[in-house]
């Protein structure tokens, strides 16, 4: 069976996302590499197929850091403009694990929303293209670096949109480690209690967190059963398969928020990474040889 065109685009974009993140990991002698490996297809499918985002006129260039939000700071902006200025029927996107920022920046470039030169500012002093993004960073709209706060904020936004009569959906990308957080479960119960069926999450279940394997840090499974017990419609899909990822996104309008649980491989497309198992959270090169090995891997990506 031949794949639809968009699925091929997702696969191509995912390869380019991993490539860009590895480039910057080499450039900065470290980076959140495994997150790119695990989430590239999820984010590419969201941006290229699932989400109905408003277009941007042309790839945007990130502006310098505008200062923190305050009453006096009229120059403050969020990174939401990279996701387009949505009409009432269009969608909104929120990145919860803010350390995936570089992956998101790469997605924005591959989907024509950010000028490739935007990554020249990555992790540079005075830039909005921060390593752990905040709401001024490209593609971001809330400050989610304190994990577990994004879903609650997005749920409030989804309720606000419903009160205004907006039909667009609100998408949140989450990581599996966040299901260890009490606030996540508070948000899940509130979203189903208030019947926010236009709220949906995609969860990157890469089974990895800072200390190592999720199963060794604090078990979160069985996530599908737990989410269903909390009143959510929960689908479990192969997280590198664009067709499966997209098929799970259908809107049922039945009052239940949607969770798409994506099983992923944190070394996908870069098998070299598995040598660092079980600690894959942040890739830092220990020797020049190791760095050279990754540089050669980049040429093959």
């Amino acid at each position: 069976m031949t794949e639809p065109k968009w699925a091929n685009q997702v696969r191509l974009a995912a390869r380019h996302i991993r490539r860009r993140v590895l480039e910057h990991t080499l450039k900065h002698n470290g980076g959140y590499m495994s997150q790119a490996c695990s989430s590239a297809e999820i984010l590419a499918t969201l941006y290229l197929k699932v989400m109905n985002l408003a277009p941007v006129d042309k790839p945007l260039r990130p502006k310098p850091f505008p200062g923190v939000p305050s009453r006096g700071n009229r120059a403050y902006f969020t990174g939401a403009e990279f996701n387009g200025r949505p009409l009432a029927h269009q969608d909104r996107f929120f990145l919860s694990p803010a350390h995936y920022a570089l992956v998101l920046y790469a997605v924005l470039i591959e989907t024509g929303r950010m000028d490739p030169c935007g990554l020249d500012d990555f992790n540079r002093d005075g830039s909005s293209v921060e390593m752990i993004g905040a709401e001024h960073s490209p593609g971001m709209e809330v400050t989610a670096g304190s994990l577990g706060q994004c879903l609650s904020q997005a749920a409030g936004i989804a309720l606000g949109r419903r009160l205004k009569g907006e039909s667009g959906r609100t998408w949140v990308f989450m990581s599996d480690g966040e299901f260890q957080i009490g606030q996540t479960w508070e948000a899940l119960q509130a979203a189903s209690f208030h019947r926010l069926d236009r709220l949906a999450i995609y969860v990157d279940i890469n089974r990895q967190q800072c200390d190592g394997l999720v199963t060794n840090v604090m078990a979160v499974e069985p996530l599908q059963d737990r989410l269903q017990a909390f009143g959510w419609r929960a689908e479990r899909v192969a997280g590198h398969n664009p067709n499966a990822l997209a098929a799970a996104a259908a809107l049922l309008d039945d009052g239940r928020p949607l969770a798409v649980l994506c099983d992923t491989d944190p070394c996908r497309g870069l098998s070299l990474l598995s040598q660092n198992a079980p600690k894959l959270h942040y890739l830092r090169f220990k020797t020049p040889d190791e760095r050279e090995t990754y540089r050669r891997a980049l040429e093959l990506l």
């Binding site: 939000p69 706060q149 904020q153 936004i157 989804a158 309720l159 606030q183």
Partner: protein, 335 residues
């Protein structure tokens, strides 16, 4: 003096009538926080969030981003203690238009240490973007709504409930960063806040009857706190400044006074009355105010210490003082 019952419950319904963007969020303490009448009057604008305050604060920030003005109602401790990270990162960082109504400030509850917000001003005052208000009577409980609504950004309010005196005329509403000058004098300056002001009024009346000249200011805006009347009041007293608050002596009104005195080189002695580096316990308001010395007697004893003299005021004298509604001298003095 006029006493009002459940002033907030009634007033909120009237005030919010023509304000469709005003929502109320509650965490299972709806009638305890006098939001029950609102929930009945406007069920479509009332959202029950359950005993889940961390979610409630971040959720409120999301609603604010969509142009709504969520009024979060719960006990103060469950806002700033239970959900501090959410208040700091979801609400304050974003300068989100979330208004937090913290009930049971200080020791105004027999609920014990878990329910007593004795350090909330200290924590909320140090958060960037945050405005901190404290109500001292029925007039302030009513008029604080206009004050907080006019602030573009997060506001934390120490809210009173139940039976409340109307110390200040309804015609003199609370105003942002505007102290109420309740007495003029130059022996001592008393700064009081919240329900301590009623106690301070009794003490000041007795002090004046003994010939002590007292400047008394009621402070209902703890941040921002930049009105020149405050500095003027602290610059003049011959025998120093006394602060009286329903809070730890650190981080709240006493600390504000200390900062101002030091920053402006006023060189006045300062006695801070409040909880002295201690948690409290479950007991009646009057009992706890006596135990912690934040009542009229405590203020009189501190005044005697500042003056270096005994005034022979007995507890029976205090019991006989009748507090009448007080007009602020602020207008008359053109402050």
């Amino acid at each position: 003096m006029e006493m009002l019952s459940r002033a907030h419950a009634k007033n909120l319904v009237t005030w919010a009538k023509d304000k469709p963007k005003v929502l109320v969020l509650s965490a299972d303490l709806t009638s305890s926080c006098e939001a029950d009448a609102f929930s009945v009057a406007y069920p479509e604008r009332f959202f029950s969030m359950g005993i889940a305050e961390q979610n409630m604060l971040s959720f409120a920030a999301g609603l604010a981003r969509e142009g709504f003005m969520p009024l979060v109602h719960t006990f103060a401790v469950f806002i700033y203690r239970r959900a501090y990270d959410q208040v700091a990162m979801s609400v304050a960082y974003a300068n989100a238009n979330v208004k937090m109504f913290g009930f049971l400030p200080g020791i105004t509850t027999p609920g014990g240490a878990t329910h007593q917000a004795i350090d909330d001003v200290a924590l909320m005052r140090t958060l960037p973007n945050m405005t901190v208000l404290e109500t001292g009577d029925a007039t302030e409980v009513e008029s604080v709504l206009d004050v907080m609504a006019a602030v573009e950004g997060p506001v934390y309010i120490r809210m009173l409930r139940g039976e409340l005196p109307r110390l200040f005329p309804a015609s003199e509403p609370m105003q942002l960063d505007q102290p109420r000058v309740l007495s003029r004098g130059n022996d001592l300056t008393v700064l009081s806040s919240g329900l301590c002001t009623e106690e301070a009024l009794k003490a000041v009346a007795l002090l004046k009857s003994r010939g002590v000249s007292v400047e008394h200011l009621h402070i209902s805006t703890l941040k921002p706190c930049n009105h020149p009347a405050l500095l003027d009041a602290m610059a003049n007293p011959k025998h120093g400044v006394l602060t009286l608050e329903n809070h730890l002596t650190t981080g709240g009104l006493g600390s504000i006074a200390a900062e101002k005195i030091a920053e402006h080189g006023l060189g006045k002695k300062l006695i801070r009355l409040g909880l002295q580096d201690t948690f409290s316990h479950g007991a009646s308001k009057a009992y706890l105010m006596r135990e912690h010395g934040i009542d009229a007697l405590g203020l009189i004893q501190a005044a005697e210490q500042a003056l270096g003299t005994q005034l022979n005021i007995r507890p029976e004298d205090i019991a006989q003082v009748r507090v009448e509604a007080v007009h602020s001298a602020a207008k008359a003095e053109g402050l």
